[in-house]
Each structure stands twice: as structure tokens, then as C-alpha cells.
Symmetry: C2
Subunit: 201 residues, 2 copies
């Protein structure tokens, strides 16, 4: 695929990749056009040839960051055979690996930063969250069907508790410059999953 990219498409991709890091570090409203020009090495006209507005570029940059996060997650979890194993693996991956785009979790940053000013960006962040929740809920449901997870467990509650605990712990770890909140979250969520695992026998 990539060999067939035109020069214009390559430039567009480069703008998105560079912009994703800038937006994720400085926020949507904290990112100026001059920073985007500096990072991409392009003039204003070179950027706006590809994107109608800063808002449109921010949406493309978020979608790129999220696709990188999703790709990394898929690579890590595809080789784990069971749904409960995948849930444990997702927690370990989140707690252990820094974000593929610098500046922390693109979802949390965008959720906090875009709660005013860029409704399109907010809609994409909301869609990404929904997709992540759906993925975890499906794993819990699959685990229940395969008798790996106890019946009566709420897939929606488990999914939202995992994401909440990990995202909140990442915020604490980044603010305090100390990984222990992420370590605590990891251990706590593994214990929670052990508690909903169907006991053998």
C-alpha cells in the first residue's frame, strides 16, 4: 500500500503524525499554528492545502493516535488465546508501556481538552471510548459464555471499571512522576478479575 502513496499523500501523513504528538502534548487549544509549522517544517499554506482548519487536523491527528494505540493493543493481545487472559494482558500492557504518541493517553487528553471548543474532536474521542468499552465488554461476555468468568457479572461495569482505574492511575502517575499508582491499579484490577473468574470444579 505505502509504495502507492503520492507525494501529496505522504505530506498529509507526515503532517498528521507530527501534529498528533504536538496536540497530545499541548492540547487542542494549547497548540498554535506556528508550533504545527515548526514541527512539520511546512508553511501555513502547506498545512492548509491538506486540512481546512486546525479543528480538522486535530480530528485526523486524534484518529491517527487512536489507530496506533489500537494496533499496538491488537498485536499484544492477538496471541493470548482466552478472553480472561486478554483482559489481564490489556491491563498489563496499559500499565507497562508508554503511549505510542508522546504526551500520555490521547483519549484522556482529548476528553479533558476538547470538552469545549471542538465538538468534532470530542465526538471522535467519545467514539473511541465507546469502541474500547465495547471491546472489553465483548471479552467479558465471551468469558462468561466459555465458562471462564462467573455468570451474573456485568460486562459493562467490568469494562468501565477497568478503563476508569487505568486512566485515573495514568493521570496520577504522570502528575506525581511516580509509577506506583499504575502498579497499584494493575494489581488491583488483576485481583478484581481473579474475583470474577469462574472457580474450577
Amino acid at each position: 500500500m505505502s509504495t502507492s502513496l503520492t507525494k501529496g499523500e505522504k505530506t498529509r501523513d507526515k503532517i498528521i503524525r507530527k501534529a498528533a504528538a504536538v496536540f497530545n502534548l499541548h492540547g487542542y487549544s494549547g497548540t498554535s499554528l506556528s508550533e504545527l509549522m515548526e514541527e512539520t517544517g511546512l508553511e501555513k499554506g502547506g498545512i492548509y492545502r491538506h486540512f481546512e482548519s486546525k479543528e480538522e487536523l486535530a480530528v485526523a491527528a486524534f484518529d491517527y493516535a487512536w489507530s496506533e494505540i489500537r494496533l499496538r493493543r491488537r498485536i499484544a493481545l492477538d496471541e493470548i488465546p482466552t478472553p480472561l487472559g486478554k483482559l489481564h494482558g490489556m491491563i498489563d500492557g496499559f500499565a507497562a508501556k508508554p503511549s505510542p504518541v508522546p504526551g500520555g493517553c490521547a483519549l484522556m487528553n482529548t476528553a479533558i481538552d476538547a470538552d469545549d471548543g471542538n465538538p468534532a474532536l470530542r465526538a471522535h474521542a467519545r467514539e473511541a471510548l465507546r469502541e474500547w468499552l465495547d471491546y472489553l465488554e465483548a471479552l467479558v461476555r465471551q468469558g462468561i459464555r466459555q465458562d471462564e468468568i462467573a455468570r451474573g457479572v456485568s460486562p459493562a461495569a467490568i469494562a468501565s471499571t477497568i478503563i476508569a482505574t487505568l486512566e485515573g492511575a495514568l493521570m496520577i502517575s504522570r502528575l506525581s512522576d511516580d509509577r506506583s499508582a499504575l502498579d497499584n491499579a494493575r494489581k488491583h484490577l488483576h485481583t478484581m478479575l481473579d474475583g470474577i473468574a469462574r472457580k474450577a470444579g
Copy 2:
């Protein structure tokens, strides 16, 4: 006390209160001087007579927002007699009541927004987080001493898990415009506290 405020002090207080809402809604880097002028009804000179820079005003606004949060927490928890009861009460209060300053949790907003650009603001947010962690850790330790909470529990792990889960759930609830993540977090944390309670007998 308040009767002895000079006109200048009253103006300074008003600027801080108005600015706290603007910064919490739009972020440090997303807040412009013209917005601050509009909200306070003051000219640039009227604001800068009281604060040397936007950075200094943002720090004062964060400290004000945090003191409001702390005051509300103290009022709600002072009447609960036991440490474990206070932990349950803190969780209920967080999940039930909107932030006293519009725009969600000032701590999370500031942690995400000030990870670049305003090191003084970041230091104040880190200090606020440390204080909140210390408060919860002290309650867990007190609960252990009073035989309300099982020995062997890590006060630091419990404190960081509570804050992480609540803050992450607030992020999800705000992004998805749906309180269920906060409800799930509340129930999950009550169950966690029930699990560390010292069993009678």
C-alpha cells in the same frame, strides 16, 4: 474576616473566583486574557494590578478551586464518626455531587492541561494530589489501628486506587454524558472497602 476586606482585596477575590471557572472549563493554555477580561468585567490593567502574569492568576485560581473542593469534603465527612465510614462517604460524595467549580475536577483538568507550559501550576496540582492521597492513607491507617480495617492492607495502594477509579470514571462520565461509569466506580469501590473491612467475631 470578610468584613475587613479592602476594595482591592474584594476585587482580587472576585478575579480569582471568576478565573477559576474559566480556567477549569477551558484549560490554562485555552484561556485567553480577553476571556478573563470579559468574565471579570475588568480591563487588562485591572487584572494585572493584582496578578503579575496569567500563570500567577492560574495558580491562585487552582488553589481557590481546590480549597472549595476540600471545604465541601470536610463539611460532608466531619459528621461521619469512623474512618471506614469516611472513606465510603468520600466515594459517595465524589460520585454524586458535581464539582463546586464548573468544568469537572480541577485536579484532573490541571494535571492534564499543565503537563507543559506552567510548572508552578503543575506543582500546585501535584501538591493537591499528595494532600488528597495523604488524607485517604491516614484514614486507612486509622481504620487499621481501630480494628475496622484488616491488617496487611496497604494504605497507599487503597488511597491511589480510590482516587484513580473516581477520577477515571469522572472522565468517562463527562465524555460519554452518562453517569453510569461513576455509578459503577462507586459500587466497585464500596465492594473493595467491604473486602478490606475487618470481619466481626
